[in-house]
Amino acid sequence: MSGRGAVGAPLDRVEGHLKVRGAATYANEWPVENPAYLYPLLSTIASGRVTGVDASAATAEPGVLGVLTHLNAPKLAWPNDPEVAALQSGEVAFHGQFVGAVVAESIEIARYAAGLVTLEYEKRPVDVDMRADRDDLLKPQHAAIFGSQPGDLQDGSSADSAVGDFEAGMDSAIHTLDATYSTPIQHHHPLEPHTAIAVWTDDEITLYCSSQGVHLHRTLLANAFGIDASRIRVISPHVGGAFGSKVFPVTWATLAFMGAQLVPGRPVKFALTRQQMFTLVGHRPATIQRIRLGADADGRLVALGHDVVQETARAKQYAEQTVAASRLMYAAPHRRTTTRIATLDLPVPTIMRGPGEATGMFALESAMDEFAVSMGMDPIEFRVLNEPAVHPESGLPFSSRHLVTCLREGSRRFGWEHRAPATPARSENGWLIGTGVASSTYPSPRLPGNTATIRVGADGRHTVRIAAADIGTGTWTTLAQIAAEALDVAVEDVTLQIGDTDHPLASSAGFSSGINCWGTTIHAAAGELRAALNENGGAVPDEGLEVTTDIPDNPYIAQYAMYSFGAQFAEVRVHEDTGEVRVPRLLGVFDVGRVINPKTARSQLLGGMTQGLSMALHEAAAIDPRYGHVVNNDLGGYHFAANADVGSIEVHCLEERDPYVNPMGSKGAGEVCIVGTAAAIANAVCHATGIRVRDLPITLDKLLR
């Protein structure tokens, strides 16, 4: 195959033959000689401080190599970031925080000895009361405190926004809606836990870990330990899922380093247990969202308001862009969004697939459905009527926006025209059947900090190096396809090297930015290599040829709003007697630009939709208000979608090439697919039953009346 057909080919994953044997090497599987094992101690209070430590029994246990607590742990150069630092004081800010660790000759000994350490605490009152009417809500300053960018929210945007006069717009409206929606704490739970093998010597420090961005992890750890980053090598070629949980929280890697310092030169292995993952690797924060909509007599929106309260941690502020999608989805001359945070004694939230949009669009797209129904309008026609010509807040044109096509094409494929307008829609053998629709969107950001090296040898093989990550996204395959097309060589002639800080700088896998950032950089490097080859008369010199290129600036970023879009359709069945909800059919039609690999893209899109189904029906952390701990902290208590929870899922991509986001013509695909699914299901449940569930997840107790 020439490079011409490389992008767009539905290639099998290049590492597939390894994964089906279990031979792809994940972090905790690197063969190392004579490892020691670390097992952590977690706080059993949510607020207070450790006042006493008795490690004598643990230390005396045969095979124990050391016990770490705040009393003897190394002092870090950067001790104040609770997502990076551990054991720097006896202060406890949430239940399940690291308060110690045992290093021992085996897993069994380490775990047993951890149970022998006795800690005494001074407890403070626990406050985990998530309410929108708290008198201590704050306007967030997430980026200003912890980020390097301006703005109030995690993505650098402002907490609040206003266009026109929202209240006057609502007063002028013929039809109005005022509804409040809520979403619970949710957890990422990649199947591979957060694991590390750390080896500490006076020269080199090696960390095999499960990472969405090896360079970011190296920077965070180098800062924490006050050492030169060049001493640290982070290796992570295969990652067993992440969904946002393997970007910012790295205390587990810090603890592995501390353990490795105890036994210099000896590898220390550390894997969080599933239960420990509920408090130490972030979560999607709970939200309470008020949506207000006003429309004229024809159903045109005149006012759109979205006011969000979300939970954050006392240990560290996190505030995400829950209002983001409401700023761009629909036209309305008068609009406002606000974001406030409730500071609680809970673990630190972090980004989770579609951070902000996933919860925000549950509220907005549920409200759009309710409003359409209340006005006697078809939910699709109501959305089409309010399609904006430009970004409603910034006034920028969209680089490409095919939402209406997604809705129309989806309607055709789903058979929307046969939908019963009335509720309850249809009944069959004791099951109420309904259908629902919702829109999807997610930005296509370009992140700084990307460099690619391409080397061509005299044998014609091209080696492409960039420290990108494959967290199941297909990076190993798709970046090779992009390189092959840009170099005009066969995919088989490209050797891709990623997931290692020995390779050039790359941004982390997140924000649906991977292909946009890494692919664009590789594309630019390929262009330079071809130019260099031309200068050489088209021939590869005997010693080969190598170029290294940084990600180019995109001048269109200031001129266009860049987003993916989609329309999701759901059919649900709700049992009349038990309230059980089943989802026999989901359809997603997506505008994600040009698709690099239809096979892996489809998997990513249907995976996101399935996680959206799971968000709609299953997932919620139960927090004990007295003690502030996660009560359902295992995969039995915290259920996410299993095989039998999923029916037919269809995915269709429009394949409209975007002219401005990047030279490949692609847009982000990893997150738009989880945005809107929960609303489509909630809307279908309402269509089936007449019951509007505004509080996720949609469990049967909410449907029994």
Binding site: D12, G22, N643, A644
Partner: protein
């Protein structure tokens, strides 16, 4: 307390000394360096550690190594015949029935065992006729029988057709 045991893993015999608290999964991964079976929850709830234990699928995190001395263990690595992948492995690749790949060895072992169970006429909770001679592996039967293997990337919509194709052949 330590105990010497023998395990036959993927056709090869190993004699090793284990702590009596060591699970079969940890014995494979940490003592023998055989990492095909994955540790996802260590709790019997995710299925990533599924192996064939004396021919039947089992969560290797839920059994103690010492209690399985002499057992025959097959992991996903052992399903392949050298470079020749098992038909189930090939079908998972062609249907893209995985993303991150961490649950995949467990899914594949589980699927292979599940087909044998169905062939032997074992009913599942969704089987309408518990005494039927033949199990018809439709979507509902496969999904039910594979629900002990969680996939957080959520490749279920590809896993079921991947298995169905092998079941048909």
């Amino acid at each position: 307390m330590d105990q010497e045991i023998t395990l036959r893993v993927d056709g090869k015999e190993h004699t090793l000394t284990v702590d009596t608290r060591t699970t079969l999964l940890d014995a494979l991964r940490e003592r023998l360096g055989i990492t095909s079976a994955k540790k996802g929850c260590d709790h019997g709830q995710c299925g990533a550690c599924t192996v064939l234990l004396d021919g039947r699928r089992a969560n290797s995190c839920l059994v103690l190594a010492v209690a399985n001395a002499g057992a025959e263990v097959v992991t996903a690595a052992g399903l392949a015949d050298g470079d020749e992948l098992h038909p189930m492995q090939r079908s998972f690749i062609s249907h893209d029935a995985f993303q991150c790949g961490y649950c995949t060895p467990g899914q594949i072992v589980s699927a292979v065992a599940m087909l044998r169970e169905a062939e032997a006429g074992w009913p599942s909770v969704v089987s309408e006729d518990l005494d039927a001679d033949e199990v018809v592996l439709d979507h509902g039967e496969i999904a039910e029988r594979m629900s002990g293997n969680l996939c957080r990337c959520a490749a279920y919509a590809n896993i079921v057709p991947a298995i169905a194709e092998v079941a048909r052949s």
